[in-house]
């Protein structure tokens, strides 16, 4: 498992007030009980952690270049953004 994966899991578990063991790649944010403000807070924590910018407008969540449906899809997007930053 990549370190990005474990760091993202840490952030999402903390946001959901769950143990990291209860959060897996298939988990959806909805299942984890993370609402729209919770997503905004998690995005802030991820941006701070990796020094990346994630485009996200809570009014148009589907328009983001990051797919927020599952933990796995978020990790994939963060890996992509971190790689392109290293460019």
């Amino acid at each position: 498992m990549s370190s990005i994966y474990s760091q993202v899991i840490d952030i999402i578990a903390s946001q959901a007030v769950l143990d990291v063991a209860d959060v897996g790649p298939e988990s959806t944010l909805e299942e984890l009980g993370i609402d729209s403000l919770g997503i905004v807070e998690a995005i802030f924590a991820i941006e701070e952690m990796f020094d990346i910018d994630i485009s996200f407008n809570a009014n148009e969540p589907g328009e983001s270049d990051v797919d927020f449906t599952s933990v796995g899809s978020i990790v994939e997007a963060v890996e992509r953004l971190v790689t392109s930053k290293r460019g």
Binding site: S14, V17, L37, V40, E41, I43, F44, E47, E48
Partner: protein
């Protein structure tokens, strides 16, 4: 006319983190003013203040709560919880649509403004926490109390500088008396002690760098404090019907505007407001036993307030006791009237009149019994609390003992 009683009170302030601790400190004449412990204090010329000491937010709030709560909201929420507990108020025991909150604050989440500006301007960061706005808004404290205690009636914040608390309590009093609510949480909260907050005040050249000595010949200005107090105001029969014990009664309130100077107080305006509060309470000046003065320890306030008190109380002034508890807890700005109302409830419920401490030689222009340095034990049936804010906004409350 519907009567309004106080059935619960709570506080977090530099003198104590409960009403009992605050009462004890006031009775002993303790001073909570110390050297400021804040970031960049070495760049300030004013380095004294009254901070809430030994405060660990994590002991009272979860991490999720803390990201949403500025320090001023934390103080207000803890105070409201104490008030609800003392009043024995439990969810389901009252109509939540008839219950509301009014909290006075001058600066709102000023620490959040300060640290966020520091992050983007000084540290050149390009993002701040997503909850900066809900943390710093002036109504954050009132809204959080309404959410936690499930109060769905009239809820808002009042911001009138140093009289914010008295205006807030006055609004809640009017709402219950007028029938718009049965119970209201009311008070004030402030936490302006941070580099930017003190720097702004420092620049006004009204701050002391030695201590707060109202009415003393050697006074040299005000000292900032922080904290909150919140009271549960309740319609009299509503309180008695649920078996709550009234601590005291709010009898009258008056608010006026000087329409004069943006910072200087007005003798006429102060006197007019005290007279208005007495008339609203339906009592004579001679019946007041204790006045908690605005008493900021600035030359302008103290002399004008004393003159105004002489104008209103005239020959009865010899019998009157007047103290400024800011000498102990500092000036809590928007929260100050609420903490000072505790000095009034202490006098009304326990016959202890809190002193004005730090008086070496009394200013001859302030000829009043200012209860110098030591508390006085005396029966108090009626008390008045003064607040005269920047902007020329005056707000005076009159309270009576429950007998």
């Amino acid at each position: 006319m519907r009567r309004v009683v106080i059935t619960g009170q709570g506080t977090v302030n530099p003198l104590g983190k409960s009403v009992q601790e605050t009462y004890d400190a006031m009775a002993k004449g303790q001073c909570a003013i110390t050297q400021l412990q804040i970031r960049d204090v070495e760049r300030l010329s004013v380095r004294v203040g009254a901070q809430v000491q030994d405060y660990q937010a994590e002991r009272h709030f979860s991490r999720q709560e803390l990201v949403r709560l500025d320090r001023f909201s934390q103080f207000a929420l803890l105070s409201a919880r104490q008030a609800a507990e003392q009043a024995g108020l439990e969810a389901g025991s009252f109509c939540k649509e008839s219950a509301g909150v009014v909290i006075g604050t001058a600066g709102g989440g000023l620490n959040t403004w300060d640290s966020s500006y520091r992050a983007v301007y000084q540290e050149r960061k390009n993002r701040v926490h997503p909850f900066v706005v809900p943390r710093l808004m002036n109504n954050a404290a009132a809204s959080t109390i309404s959410m936690q205690l499930q109060l769905q009636g009239p809820t808002f914040s009042v911001s009138t500088a140093c009289s914010s608390s008295n205006h807030a309590i006055g609004q809640a009093f009017h709402m219950i008396r007028g029938g718009a609510a049965e119970l209201m949480f009311a008070g004030g909260s402030e936490s302006m002690i941070c580099f930017g907050g003190i720097k702004a005040w420092e620049s006004l050249r009204v701050m002391s760098s030695t201590g707060c000595r109202p009415f003393s010949a050697d006074r040299d200005g005000m000292v900032q404090g922080e904290g909150a107090a919140v009271f549960l105001l309740e319609e009299y029969s509503h309180a008695t019907a649920r078996g709550a014990q009234p601590l005291c009664e709010i009898l009258g309130f008056c608010m006026t505007s000087d329409a004069g100077d943006i910072v200087l107080p007005s003798r006429e305006g102060a006197a007019r407001t005290m007279r208005g509060a007495l008339a609203d309470a339906g009592i004579d000046a001679a019946e007041i036993d204790y006045v908690n003065a605005h008493g900021t320890a600035t030359a302008a306030n103290d002399r004008i307030e004393c003159a105004a008190i002489h104008d209103v109380f005239d020959s009865c002034v010899e019998e009157l006791r007047v103290s400024s508890t800011k000498s102990m807890h500092g000036h809590l700005i928007g929260g100050t009237g609420a903490v000072e109302l505790l000095a009034c409830t202490l006098a009304l419920t326990q016959g202890v009149i809190a002193p004005t401490i730090g008086i070496k030689k009394q200013d001859p222009n302030c000829r009043l019994d200012v209860v110098p340095n030591k508390a006085v034990h005396s029966r108090v049936d009626f008390a008045m609390s003064n607040a005269f804010a920047f902007g020329g906004l005056n707000a005076v409350l009159v309270l009576g003992a429950s007998r």
